[in-house]
Symmetry: none
């Protein structure tokens, strides 16, 4: 571990100089993911500063999401998950025709090993947001499918799909295993040929529950993508609400200038 020194004559405060120093070690990979940073005591000793100064440097790195602290253990460089590029053609029919659900088809391209767990299928009344998107009345039952996606064993995304009961009831959509091609293949089997999707993208800090589900450290934001699928009659046939660990994704969209 080669720590630098601080310049007491500089305008930049010592705590920021220490943060810069440590950030440099991380960004140049001299400190790699999962590795432990020098303890507060070592930083005090090496740089000749008070404890609060060392802590402030670490606080800055935490707020940037570069490191995570574990009480009683130490401060560690955040383990990064493989970045996944999601192109807007990932729901193209050619993938479904190959019997692949979108997440799995997309994962193969990136070379990561995908998996799914925590699958739950229930039927329930929709909340207001889903009602509006699906344009169904509040007393109409919808099928709720939730699951968690992992990439190389690391949780990266949770997803909850809502499908109107009249489309999904009595089909494989209401079962755990939807069969080849996933939900969208089954919706098309039911006579609702898909025409287009809309996606709404927002980003924010995770709730505590989301932090648990995606095993996020403090200061790791999430992206929320809410997709609505429409059939050729213009009817909304599915709403899919996904929460993605932001550092793990790049979303790609292509649209005409018109």
């Amino acid at each position: 571990m080669q720590l630098g020194t601080i310049d007491r004559t500089s305008d930049r405060p010592p705590s920021k100089q220490i943060a810069d120093d440590l950030r440099g070690l991380i960004q140049s990979s001299r400190l790699v993911a999962g590795e432990q940073l020098p303890s507060e005591a070592k930083l005090m000793d090496h740089y000749g500063v008070a404890r609060m100064t060392a802590r402030q440097a670490l606080q800055e790195l935490k707020s940037e999401g570069l490191v995570v602290s574990e009480h009683g253990r130490g401060v560690f460089v955040r383990r990064t998950v493989p970045v996944r590029r999601l192109a807007s053609d990932r729901f193209a029919r050619r993938y479904r025709d190959q019997g692949k659900a979108a997440f799995l088809a997309e994962a193969e391209k990136s070379g990561a090993t995908p998996s799914v767990d925590s699958i739950q299928v229930t039927e329930d009344y929709p909340d207001v947001e889903v009602q509006q998107r699906l344009r169904v009345p509040e007393d109409e039952i919808v099928i709720v499918r939730s699951r968690r996606y992992l990439s190389d064993g690391i949780p990266v995304e949770t997803a909850v799909s809502y499908i109107p009961g009249d489309i999904g009831k009595g089909t494989k959509i209401a079962e755990m295993d939807t069969g080849p091609g996933g939900i969208y293949a089954r919706i098309e089997d039911a006579g609702h040929t898909l025409e287009h999707f809309t996606e709404e993208v927002t980003a924010r800090m995770p709730t505590e529950r989301e932090r648990d589900q995606l095993q996020l450290g403090t200061s790791v934001p999430i992206m929320r993508v809410v997709r609505t699928a429409y059939d050729f009659q213009g009817r909304a046939v599915e709403v899919c609400d996904t929460i993605k660990a932001a550092p793990a994704f790049v979303l790609e969209y292509d649209f005409p200038a018109r």
Copy 2:
């Protein structure tokens, strides 16, 4: 201002209790947007704590993005910015034909008062990322236009555009004021009719510089949207790298099922 009291026998640390107290005042609207919080000195006095304890309470609220501090003035409840929905048709030609740049055209729809500042126009060699996107050699000069967008006076987005020198030099693209319809109108004037755009969306915590420019609290994430514009020959004619305060935006995309 009715501040509560802290319970020294509680497990919850005093700093968190103070934060809870202040948070309650904000969420119940007894402290409204833009209003000043009690100073550190007043908090010390009222709760009977040391300065660092009061500061830590304020730090927590800052990290939640609820308040912003202004050196020498005070700590204030964060002014919330109106949420802006950005549809992917916001670059449609019909808006340019009306003489409106995208940001301004879109702002009008949402009822907010838009403005632009910090406009800088320079010429420079592109960095690697821009080179690859524009597919220009590293020794080719590009025009670099940076600016900051505000909504009702609150900074919400910074943008840097890169235009190949052979397209922009000697045109209004290289001047501060690009004229009606903005950059895209001038690019089309130069014979490069726009055909489509791609956008790459990522989200992360802001750098220190970005925090300053967008006046973000310490734990407010940003969305980065990098758009590339292509003309009918398939040539990349502009790359626009934008940093948006995440809480202020909803991005909307529409794409076919194909």
